[in-house]
């Protein structure tokens, strides 16, 4: 029986990994503090309000995490212009033929669980697969929704110009009520996304054994050797042609 030869490939650069985990932390903190803001628990305390600032602290944590979340997101967008090909915005471009054929493949094989007649290693994405791309794009939009509605709610009590930049969002929805509802619902999208996302990472790791889970720690994934040579050749050729350009 043939034993597959895997090569270790550097996929997720350090800034991408840092972004990922900062983002995870922020979403957890934002969601927990968000739930508390939406539905504060009964506090058993006989302290005077003067000596207590617990809800203020929860809100402070939420806003602080929101800023980190926001700036982290901006850094990631920046990295999509300077990072490697797996981090590039090009990797997220959903309108290419390749993306759609891969989309169909992933849908058939990984979502609907059909088996391939002939295994084509090329169908295994080294970076994100096409379904994942779409889910990240969706999540990016939801993140923007969170940021826009969150800062819009924050704008009127903020002293800094940055949150005030988002003040125009509120009138679009007629007032704070709708903005707040949308903000709250966006949080649920994050939670639902996370469930599916984490499961699919485990699923791919379990089935393909290419280090999907650990890739977000070390940055490496494992790729079939023969595939790599072809890719390496292509890359060499590309480099050459670039040189002469």
């Amino acid at each position: 029986m043939e034993t597959r030869n895997f090569k270790r490939v550097f996929v997720w650069e350090l800034p991408v990994r840092i972004f990922h985990w900062v983002n995870v932390l922020c979403v957890i903190v934002l969601s927990l503090s968000g739930f508390l803001i939406a539905n504060p628990p009964a506090l058993i305390s006989s302290a005077e309000a003067t000596n207590l600032h617990s809800f203020g602290i929860v809100r402070f944590i939420h806003f602080a995490a929101a800023y980190i979340f926001f700036f982290n997101m901006i850094l990631r967008v920046y990295w999509s212009f300077v990072g490697n090909k797996f981090a590039s915005w090009r990797a997220f471009w959903p309108f290419s033929k390749k993306t759609w054929s891969n989309f169909k493949h992933v849908l058939k094989i990984d979502v609907l669980l059909f088996n391939e007649k002939v295994h084509d290693e090329k169908n295994i994405s080294i970076g994100h697969n096409s379904v994942a791309i779409l889910s990240y794009l969706l999540l990016f939009i939801v993140a923007l929704v969170s940021v826009f509605t969150g800062f819009a709610l924050y704008a009127d009590t903020a002293n800094w110009w940055l949150p005030k930049l988002f003040a125009w969002v509120t009138p679009l929805f007629g007032g704070d009520f709708m903005v707040r509802s949308i903000h709250h619902i966006a949080m649920w999208v994050f939670i639902l996304f996370t469930l599916v996302h984490v499961y699919l990472v485990f699923y791919h790791d379990w089935l393909e054994g290419r280090g999907e889970v650990s890739s977000m720690f070390g940055g490496y994934k494992f790729v079939q050797e023969d595939r790599l040579r072809k890719a390496a050749k292509a890359e060499e050729a590309e480099e050459k042609s670039n040189k002469y350009k």
Binding site: M1, E2, T3, R4, A38, N39, P40, A42, L43, S45, A47, A49, T50, L52, H53, S54, F55, G56, V58, R59, V111, L113, F114, N115, D156, T157, A167, W168, T170, P171, G174, G175, D176, F177, M178, R180, S181, I182, H184, I185, W188, I191, L192, L195, V196, Y199, Y203, L207, G209
Partner: protein, 374 residues
Amino acid sequence: MPTEIEKRDTYYESIIKQGYSRRDFLKFSTYMAAFMGLESTMVGQIAESLEKTPRIPIIWEHYQECTCCSESFIRSNHPIVADIILDKISLDYTLTLMAASGHQAEAAKKAVMDKYKGEYILCVEGSIPLGDDGNYCCIAGKSAKETFLEAAAGAKAIIAWGSCASNGCVQAAKPNPTGATPIHKIVKNKPIIRVPGCPPIGEVMAGVIMHVVAFGRLPQLDRLGRPKAFYGKRVHDTCYRRPYYDAGLFAETFDDQNSKNGYCLYKVGCKGPMTYNSCGTIKWNNGVSYPIQSGHGCIGCSEENFWDNGPFYERTTKIPGFAVESNADTVGKVAAGVIVGGIALHAVGATISKRKELSDNIKRAKSNEKNIDL
């Protein structure tokens, strides 16, 4: 035209004629400056302006409404306010308060509209039903829409009193059977000041109208067309119970000890955190109190769709666009449950469907294991 305006009394003249002293007049100006949120140095300007400006005619229309705005207005703080504005500022037409009635009243309105075309202020109380050709609200044989468009055409500016004219209020609540419509959705080419609230605070109304008549221009408006001086802050931002909110001390029910202690009403549904209004500062009934001070949460009366924004006595997130009382958290939890169930099914399905691939993997890995060179 200008000569006719000059013949009209100035505000000051009509105030003095009414039997008030100059001292009263100055007090009035001071009040107005305070209501308008102006600095004390502006009092002189207001007084001067009132001394010089001839009174501006006002047409005050009532459509689909309950007259709570008028009620609130005539209770505004200083007696001179209602007096001046209602009698003297020249409410040339307001069907609830004017002496004339029937054809006479309508003729008077027509006369004002013709004579002061482009100069009068149109105040609108109530929303306008557009359903069934506007037949749900007719005055003097004409539909509200028709009279409104007619009056709006010659108006210098329009003031939308209360949530009805500004947002539609209860008549516009789902399913809005009469097609009640706030006025800014009907007339687009006139400056409109929206003064929402059910009703708006009397002093706010006085402040707005005085600004218009004293300075001859609109007060500074926010993006929603509301005067910034009165709608620039949330009730929550000026609420005296705010320290309890920040402390996390909340009334859990209306009859618990926390409620008696005066804790924040957030958990019993206070809508102050989403509601822009001056209740926390100007208060109601001549500054006596306001709902929260009297132990009841804000119900968000000055916000868009306030009847459809969810229950008054609960803190939940409604899903917009759903007619049923759908709580976002319940829907979220159900969705999460469905997804977790789906994931479990998928995992089982994958184990079955991909069994060959998986067992190959395992075989390969096991043979590799055997071949480890220790």
